[in-house]
């Protein structure tokens, strides 16, 4: 006898056609799966009634990978084969990972590809494969709990995940045999969980401090519609860093060297985490660490000391908060509620500081560990079609502007940051040189004006542009971002219809906290950038003018007297000198001067080419064509 759930009126499914859907919070430290049954969203426990699945995978020779609590417990004994916090490695290049932190718990295999591979007893595994092991366990748990196969899942990702990281997450899901309805930003999921339960309207800030990532989102809830006004954050900041700060302090106190082995470091992190949790309730806690020589170091940590250690980290979260508010055009007073997400928001000091920043008590009603999974489950339920009508329309935004490279190393933004997705935007470009038959489209993400300051997402070349004079071809470049935030770019030459494009499977190349830095830089360097852009624009224009002049002189030298030619050439060389300088106004003036000097020449060329075109034809022929 099958076990049934209560449906919404008129939404009963036919037998064997249940639309089973779950939400998955694939976290840095812990992962969760939740579903909506009989209209109520709950996280699903395993056979031992454990809801949280530690995001830890242990690889042993000739055995299936071990996932969760059992793997986490083995982390101390078998650190190299036990991969934790794999989310930090998703969609990253090997070099980024080496820059990530100076101390590394894993060994990486040497490969030609830029995708990192953990070197384990079972062989080399990629972050995508490790994540898929976690997803497989959650999938199994969900299917056992719901008594059937899943129609689809919603997986949450930090709002700050770039395209590479989102793609890697999707790949992991596919590898685990899951159909992904949608990737959902974690703060948005949290708002979904609260939005439904409280049917709140107004501006809400979601402060999400997990084990390894920090996100702040400013959302507007209005008539059941969630609009993300702005997001900011730091993809390399979380409770792990609190632990690390405490562990470093313990090392100093206990006189442990920086070059301590993997085991020792793991034990330290454990002890630091335990101390942090103890200080949620207690004023002070004792520490005990076994040293390498077998002796035991004992110490004490009180709240005040811990605050000294973690305050700078909490402070680091408040900067993006202010920026997100500014981006959203909202002042702290206008925020009606602050939702706390992530286990690290249990630290009383965090709640206190966030309360001060937003001038109100933050909301902690829903368990901060499960709130994201609950929201994802609610969204999955809607996407599976179990709701009478689309009650909820979720609007997400692009975290960083998308654009392409134009002449002179400048970035032309096609889709500005904070545009709601899905979105498609197109812009027309043209050729720079006479007879140009190909054009390379270099896709970039970032806020700065110069290519070298933005992140390269990929490039492709449009071939088969018919040979025309510079500026005649019309090339339409379209950027399309789907609901998951994944980008595809196409370029099409309008007269011939030749087309080329890419799905952005970006070159894994983002170093940690780069987005953070990129954003801050764009504000700090705004003036420099504008100056640089002006200079480059004039330089490009100067090059174009000089190039066109050279072509014209080569073709129609005969139309000029010796004196005229010398005059023009002088103006050209003056422009060349200014062009290599730094003064954009001087370049502009030199271009204008050259234009003036050469204006007669240009007019004469025009007359001459018309004469050539008319030669041998009768006037009537042209008159005839006009009919």
């Amino acid at each position: 006898m099958a076990l049934l759930q209560i449906s919404e009126p008129g939404q009963s499914t036919r037998p064997h056609e249940h639309r089973l859907a779950v939400g998955i919070d694939l976290g840095t430290t812990n992962s969760l799966v939740a579903t909506v049954r009989s209209g109520k969203a709950d996280t699903l426990p395993d056979e031992q009634q454990r809801h949280l699945l530690p995001s830890v995978v242990r690889y042993q020779a000739d055995q299936p990978p071990l996932v969760g609590e059992e793997a986490r417990r083995a982390a101390t004994e078998d650190p190299l084969n036990t991969i934790s916090s794999v989310k930090r490695y998703m969609g990253r290049g090997l070099q980024d990972i080496k820059n990530l932190t100076n101390r590394h718990a894993y060994e990486f295999a040497d490969t030609d590809s830029n995708v990192p591979r953990f070197h384990t007893a079972m062989g080399d595994v990629t972050p995508v494969e490790v994540s898929s092991e976690i997803l497989k366990v959650l999938k199994q748990r969900a299917e056992k709990s719901l008594g059937g196969e899943l129609a689809g899942v919603v997986i949450t990702v930090p709002a700050y995940f770039d395209d590479a990281q989102r793609q890697a997450t999707k790949d992991a899901a596919k590898l685990a045999g899951l159909n992904v309805f949608r990737l959902l930003n974690e703060p948005t999921a949290a708002a979904v969980a609260y939005g439904l339960d409280k049917s709140a309207e107004g501006i809400i800030a979601v402060y999400d401090l997990g084990g390894g990532t920090f996100d702040i989102s400013i959302l507007r809830l209005n008539k059941g519609v969630f609009e993300v006004l702005a997001t900011a954050g730091d993809s390399a900041l979380g409770g792990d860093d609190f632990d690390r700060a405490i562990a470093t302090w313990i090392m100093q106190q206990a006189g442990i060297n920086d070059d301590a082995d993997h085991h020792q470091l793991r034990r330290l992190m454990h002890e630091a985490c335990a101390a942090k949790e103890a200080l949620t309730e207690a004023e002070r806690t004792t520490l005990k660490i076994e040293l390498e020589d077998g002796s035991v170091w004992q110490g004490e940590l009180d709240r005040e000391r811990m605050h000294q250690l973690i305050d700078p980290l909490i402070q680091k979260t408040l900067l993006p908060c202010r920026r997100a508010l500014r981006d959203a055009g909202i002042s702290a007073d206008e925020v009606q509620a602050v939702v706390m997400v992530g286990g690290s928001t249990r630290v009383p000091r965090v709640r206190e500081k966030v309360g001060e920043a937003f001038k109100q008590e933050p909301l902690v009603d829903i368990n901060p560990d499960t709130v994201v999974a609950i929201g994802a489950a609610i969204q999955a339920d809607v996407l599976a079609g179990n709701k009478p009508d689309d009650e909820m329309l979720l609007l997400d935004v692009i975290p960083l502007s998308l654009g392409l490279e134009t002449m002179g190393g400048l970035v032309e933004k096609i889709i500005p940051r904070n545009t709601t997705i899905p979105v498609a935007r197109a812009q027309d470009f043209t050729t720079f040189k006479d007879g140009q038959t190909a054009m390379t489209i270099h896709v970039l993400q970032g806020e700065r004006e110069l290519v070298s300051d933005c992140r390269s997402l990929g490039r492709f070349t449009l071939h088969g542009i018919p040979a025309m004079v510079a500026g005649a071809a019309r090339i339409r470049v379209s950027f399309q971002v789907d609901a998951d935030g994944l980008l595809s770019v196409t370029a099409r030459e309008e007269t011939t219809g030749v087309q080329s494009g890419i799905e952005v499977k970006p070159s894994y190349g983002l170093t940690d906290s780069e987005i953070e830095t990129m954003l801050r830089d764009s504000i700090e360097h705004a003036e420099d950038d504008v100056a640089a852009r002006k200079l480059l624009e004039q330089q490009v224009e100067a090059d174009r003018v000089l190039e066109a002049l050279a072509v014209a002189l080569a073709q129609d030298r005969a139309l000029l007297s010796e004196a005229e030619r010398t005059q023009i050439e002088r103006a050209a060389s003056r422009l060349q000198v200014k062009r290599d300088g730094k003064d954009h106004l001087a370049i502009k003036a030199a271009i204008e001067e050259l234009d003036k000097t050469a204006s007669d020449f240009v007019a004469r060329r025009m007359d001459s080419s018309i004469r050539k075109a008319l030669a041998g034809h009768k006037v009537e022929e042209f008159a005839g064509e006009e009919k």
Binding site: M1, L4, Q5, I6, E8, S12, G39, E47, K144
Partner: protein
Amino acid sequence: MSITLTEAAADRVKQFLANRGKGEGLRLGVKTTGCSGMAYLLEFVDVIEEDDKVFESQGVKIIVDPKSLLYLDGTELDFAKEGLNEGFKFNNPNVKDTCGCGESFTV
């Protein structure tokens, strides 16, 4: 004619209705579909239709349309756990045969 809920089922229905924030009660029904002819229907009720029969059991309103009632009379609705799975279960004395999956039945 009667339809009842076990205590466990009533507890859950009350919980789900409270969580949903609205609804008159619980609709039980059958529809002609599935591999053995009939299938159960279990839905929240916002509107009670004119010809619906309304029962009350353990403080929960049970709403059944007259046609379904012919197949459901005497049914007791239970809430059960089987391993990790949990949900509602129809104990229907009218059922002669169920399909292998138990989602549809004949009377």
